[in-house]
Symmetry: D2
Subunit: 357 residues, 4 copies
C-alpha cells in the first residue's frame, strides 16, 4: 500500500452491524418481483419509486431499499450505530479524513431518522444511522414463512483495488479481520471483517473499484437455500443462479449467489461461526487452495470474479473506478487447463486451516 488512508485522531462511530443497502434499479417492477415474489422479502412500505424491504426476523424498518433510477448502482451501504452520538463521531472521523460528509436529520430514506452519508476514502457511499422506526419482528409469524425464508441481512461485500489499504482503514473504523486469502508472496486477495460477532459485516475483495460485489441475507437452514434454487427452477428463472449452492471454505457457511434483474448480486448464506472473542483466531487461506471459496472444490464461475455493481457518490453520480494493480485471484487460480490449484502438494500445518503463510 503506497497511499495509506490516514488514521484519524477522532474515535470512530460504534458500528453495531451492517443493516441495510440502498440499490438503484432500472425496472422497479421487475426488481420488486425478484425480491418480493421470488425471494419473499417483506414489504414494510412502498411508493411509486421506492420499495422498503425487510427480512423476517428484522425489527427495524428495512434491510433493503429499491429505488428507481436510470443506472443500476448502489446508493448506500448502511450501518447501524449504537447511539445518536455516534453520528457526531462519524462526522468528525470522516471530516478528518477529508471525505465528503452529509448529515440529514430527517434521514435519506423513509423509516430512518438522523443519518450521515459519506463518500469514504475507498470511494464507497457509507451511511450511518441510529434512529429508526420499529416494525413487527416476524420471527414467530410462521404462517408467513416460505420454504426459502430470509431471516436476517448478514453482510456486504465490496470490491476495491488495494485490499490491505482497505483493511487498514476499516480497522480504524473499528472492524476486525476474521479471515483472509493471501499468497506466499504476501499479496492479499480478499479479507473478511466484522463488527457483530460473525465472520463479517463486510468483506473487501480485490478488483477494480469501488464496486459492490454482493449483499447477503441469511436463512435458518441449508434446505431453505436449496428451496430457493428449486423455486427458481419452477419459475424457469435459473439464469438468476450464478454460483452455488455450495459450502464456503472461508466462513464455513453454506451459500448461493443470485443475480437480480439489474445484475446486482445477492448471496444467500447460512451458518458461519462465533467470532466475538477478542482473540478470535484469524484464518488465512492460500489463494492456491481450491477449497478456499468452495469447500467441495467446485469451480468459481468467471463472472463471479469479474462482475460487480457500480456505486454512487452523494450526488447520485457513478463513482469512477480505479484498477487493481496487484495480482488477480481469477488469473492466478485459473490455468490454461481450467481451474488449477496446489492442494495436492499441500502439507498439513497442525490444526490451522488454509496454509500458514
Amino acid at each position: 500500500t503506497t497511499d495509506p488512508v490516514p488514521t484519524p485522531s477522532s474515535p470512530p462511530p460504534d458500528v453495531v452491524r451492517a443493516a441495510s443497502m440502498e440499490l438503484v434499479v432500472t425496472d422497479l417492477e421487475a426488481s420488486r418481483r425478484f425480491y418480493v415474489d421470488v425471494l419473499d422479502l417483506v414489504v414494510t412500505e412502498e411508493d411509486e419509486d421506492t420499495v422498503y424491504l425487510r427480512s423476517l426476523e428484522e425489527f427495524i424498518h428495512h434491510n433493503l431499499v429499491l429505488r428507481r433510477g436510470p443506472v443500476a448502482a448502489v446508493a448506500a451501504f448502511s450501518y447501524r450505530v449504537r447511539t445518536p452520538e455516534d453520528l457526531d463521531r462519524a462526522v468528525a472521523f470522516y471530516t478528518e479524513l477529508g471525505c465528503r460528509v452529509e448529515r440529514r436529520t430527517d434521514g435519506w430514506v423513509k423509516g430512518v431518522g438522523d443519518s450521515v452519508r459519506v463518500t469514504d476514502p475507498l470511494g464507497f457511499p457509507y451511511e450511518f444511522f441510529h434512529e429508526v422506526d420499529h416494525v413487527e419482528r416476524l420471527a414467530w409469524a410462521y404462517d408467513r414463512h416460505t420454504p426459502g425464508a430470509l431471516v436476517r441481512i448478514d453482510h456486504f461485500n465490496q470490491v476495491t483495488p488495494d485490499v490491505p489499504r482497505a483493511v487498514a482503514y476499516m480497522e480504524n473504523l473499528g472492524f476486525r479481520v476474521t479471515e483472509d486469502i493471501q499468497d506466499e508472496a504476501g499479496t492479499t486477495y480478499a479479507a473478511w471483517m466484522r463488527r457483530k460477532p460473525t465472520v463479517h459485516d463486510t468483506a473487501m475483495t480485490g478488483g477494480d473499484g469501488p464496486r459492490m460485489h454482493h449483499v447477503a441475507f441469511a436463512t435458518h437452514e441449508k434446505h431453505n437455500i436449496l428451496a430457493i434454487c428449486d423455486k427458481l427452477g419452477a419459475l424457469r428463472m435459473t439464469d438468476s443462479i450464478e454460483r452455488g449452492p455450495g459450502r464456503h471454505g472461508v466462513s464455513n457457511a453454506f451459500y448461493l449467489y443470485l443475480r437480480d434483474p439489474d445484475g446486482h448480486r445477492v448471496e444467500i448464506y447460512t451458518q458461519d461461526y462465533w467470532t466475538g472473542d477478542p482473540d478470535n483466531p484469524v484464518v488465512t487461506w492460500d489463494v492456491h487452495d481450491n477449497q478456499r471459496r468452495d469447500w467441495w472444490g467446485n469451480p468459481v464461475v468467471p463472472s463471479w470474479y469479474t462482475d460487480a455493481s457500480r456505486v454512487l457518490d452523494l450526488d447520485g453520480e457513478l463513482q469512477p473506478l480505479t484498477s487493481r494493480t496487484d495480482d488477480s485471484e481469477m488469473e492466478v487460480t485459473i490455468g490454461a487447463d481450467g481451474f488449477s490449484y496446489t492442494r495436492k502438494g499441500d502439507t498439513e500445518h497442525g490444526f490451522k486451516l488454509g496454509a500458514t503463510l
Copy 2:
C-alpha cells in the same frame, strides 16, 4: 378369533395403493380452511358441498374428499386397483363374503369413473376404483410448495375390535403384515399391512369399531413436519396438535398427529422403509416396550387411544360399534404412576427389534 371372516374362493382385486379418503365434515368452510389454508393441500375441484384435494406429487384427481354432512364420519376408504377388471374381482370377492356391494359406473365422486363400494366384513366402507382423471403432478412446481408441503397420501389407520380377525381378512385381500404389537400372552394390539412397498397402506388398531383412527400424508423431510407445528403455533391453533412430533418405533417414520375441526385425525408422516421384498422381515414389538409408539419414549396422550371417527354404511348411516373384548393397549401400558413399561428388564434378542414373542 371366534368368528373368522371366511376365505373367498374368488381372487381379490389387485390393490395398488391407498389412494383417497372421503370425509364427511359438519362445517365445510372450517374444514377447507384447515386442509387448504393451513395444511396447503391443493384444490383440484370444488362445488358448494364438496372439496376435492390432492397432495403435491399426486397425478390422480384427489386424495381427500371433504363433503358437507350432518355428522362427522368417514364415507370411504378408497383404494386404487391395477386394472378395470379388478372391479369385477372386487364385486365377486365381497359378494362371496356376503357383504353389501354397490357398483357405480360413473363413480361415487367427481374425477373417478367406474367404482365399487362395499361395507366390508369389519364394517368399513371400502371403495375400489381404477378409472380416474389425471391432473397436474405438482412435484416440480416448487413455487407452490410451502414449508410443510404434503407430497403424497401414505396410509389409513382403522380401529377394529379383533385385530387377528381383521388381519386374516386383509391377507385374503392381498395385504401383507409388516409390523405388529403383541404381548407375551399372544394378544395382538395392532398390525400394519401393505400393498405398496412401504410399511403400510392401512393399519388395524385394536378398539371399539369400525372407526377410522387416522389418514396420513407424507412430507419429504422432517423439517416440513416441524414447519406445520410452527405454523399452527403462529395461527394460535395448537389445539389441533394432538400428539408429536416424534419418531415412531413401529415404521421408524417421523410423525405428527393433528385433529381437524371435526376431530378427524390426520397424521403427517415421513421416512419409513422399503418392505417390497417377498420375505421382508416382520417386526413384532412388545406392547410393554415403551419405544414402540414413540422411539424417544415420549408418552402417548390418552385421546390418541380413545378417540376415532365413526364410519358410514353405503346409505350414509353411522355403522354401529362393536366393543373390543381383548385387552386395551392403553390400559396395559399406563400404570397407576402414569406410563409404565417393561423395557428396563428387556434382554437383547440378537438383531431383532422389539421383543421376540
Copy 3:
C-alpha cells in the same frame, strides 16, 4: 424485591459470553460416556478425576468440565471477559458487593489462566477469566461431526427465588433483558439476559435457589437435535429425554432437554435471533399463554419445573437454598384438569408477541 442487591460504584467486568460450566459428577465414567460417547463432545484433555470437553466450533480449551466428586453439583458458571483488566474489575465489583472473592493467577482448572471466582449475591459460583489456551476449532473437520453435532455452548439457566432482584443485579453486571414471563399482577416468573447478541447468556428462572436449571449447547440445524433423540432411542436411553424436542415460544429456538447420569439438565438448542441492537425489543410473555414455553402448546413435564442442580460455594460445600415466595409458574399454569391456559380469550395486541402486561 424487598432486599435489593446494591449497585456498586465500580464498573462491572466486560463479559464476552457464557463460556464454560464446571460440573461435579458422582460417576465420572458414566458422565464421560454421556457427554462423549452419546453427545459427542470433544475431549480436549483429561486426567483421572477430570474431563475437559468442548464443542466443535470452539477454539478455547473447554466449554464443560466434568470433575469427580461426592455430590452432584455445579462448581462454576464461567464467563469469558474481554481483557485481563476485566478481572480487576470483577474483583472490585464483587468486593464492593460484600461477596467472597478468590483470584487464582494459575486458574482453577486446566487450560485457563488468571481467573476470579466469587459467590455472587444470589449465591451462585461465578467465574471470570480471560487467559485461555487455544485449541483446534473443528468447524471444518466434518469427518469428526456426528448427526447430533454440538457446535457451541449457548447459555446457562439459573434458578433463584426472586427474579426481579436477580435481574437488577445482572443488569448492573452489564447484562440486558431480551424476554421475560410475567402475569397481570406483575409477578415475574423468568427472565432471559444476554451479553452476546443472542437471546441469552443466562436466564433466571423463579424457584428455590441458588440452583442450576440447565446448560445449553447449540447445533446447526433442527435435524441435529432430532438425531440425538434417535440415537438415545437406539441406545435404549430414552429416560435421558426429559422434555421435547419442541419449539420454544420464548427465544423462538428449537429445543430438547436431557438429564445426565447425575440428573444435571442439558439443553440442546438451535436458531434463536439477533438481539444486538441497543433498542432490541423486549418480548414479555403472559404466564397464562401456553405457547410461551412450547410454541406448539405441548405440556411442560413437572420435573422440568421442580428439579435443578445444587451449586457449590468456593470451598466446595453445597450452598443453602432459599425458598421462592412469589407464585410458582407450575402452580399457576397447571389446573385440576392438567395444563390450563387463558389463550382462548386472548386478544391481539398489535404486533407484540405474548400479552402486553
Copy 4:
C-alpha cells in the same frame, strides 16, 4: 433401431428391485476406505479379496461387492426376483434370446444362494437371485448412523449405444419407462425404467457401450448428501466430487455424483416420487431443456458424459464396446460458447413438464 432384440415367448422373471452390484477394483484397500470409511457403508462380511457391503436399511446380505481384480470393471448388475421359480424363467427367457446363461445353485458370491448370470443382449452382466441371507436391518440403529448415512441402494445406470433398442428389451423384461430425454427429431438420449415404484431400477444412457454409468444409493434427506460433500472437503478428497450436489430435472431427486478410487461412479440420491400406478404419466424432457439434468440449470461436467466403467462377460473378460451412432447428448447441448439450451424460446405445454415432442 435396425437390429431389435427379439421378444421371447417365455415370460420374464418377476424382478423385485435392483439389489446389488459387483465391482472389480484394482486396490481393494483404497476402495474399502472409500466405501466404508468415507461413505460409511456397513461391512457384512469380508475376506482377503472381497468386501460385502450394505446400506443401513437393508436386510439382505449386501448391496455392493468389492472384489479385487486386475482391471476396474463391473462383474454384475444384480436383481432380486420374487420367487425361486423366477430363476427358471430367467434361464428360459435369456436362453431363448440366445444369450450365454450360467446358473450356480450355491451362488456367485457369499450370502446369496441359487443365482443366474447372463450376458444380456446389450452385453451387460445381469444377475438374478432370490435366495439370500438375512442380516440385521440397521434402520433403528441410529447410534451407527453418520451424517451422510446411506440407507438404500436405489438404482443402476447403464450406457448403451441404442437407447430405444435397450428400452424395448427391458420392457420385455417387465420394466416400465417413467421418464426419458428426446429431441424433436425423435432421437432418444436416455430413458429411466422401473420395477419398484420409484423413478427407476435402472436407466439407459446413450453412449458407447456396454458400460456402467453409475450405481446409486439413497439417503433420507438432502442434508445427508451435503454432509458427504463436507466430509470429503475435510478429508481433502474433493477430487472425488464429479458433479453436484444438485436437483435433477428428470426424477426430481436431489443428487451428487462421486468417483471411487478406480473411477467407478457412485450417485447419492434422495426423494424422487411414486410411480407405481399402472398409468403413471411418462415425463419426456427435451434434450435442449437445460433443466432436464440439473433443475437449477447448472452445467454438466463433460466427464459425466464421457466416462463410464467397462463391464465383464461371464469369464471375467472385458466386454467389447459398440459405438453410439445416434447424436450425442453432450455434443447437441454444448455449443461453441459452452452450455447452450433452447429454454428461452420454450412455450408452455399445459401441465406437462419438459417439451411435448
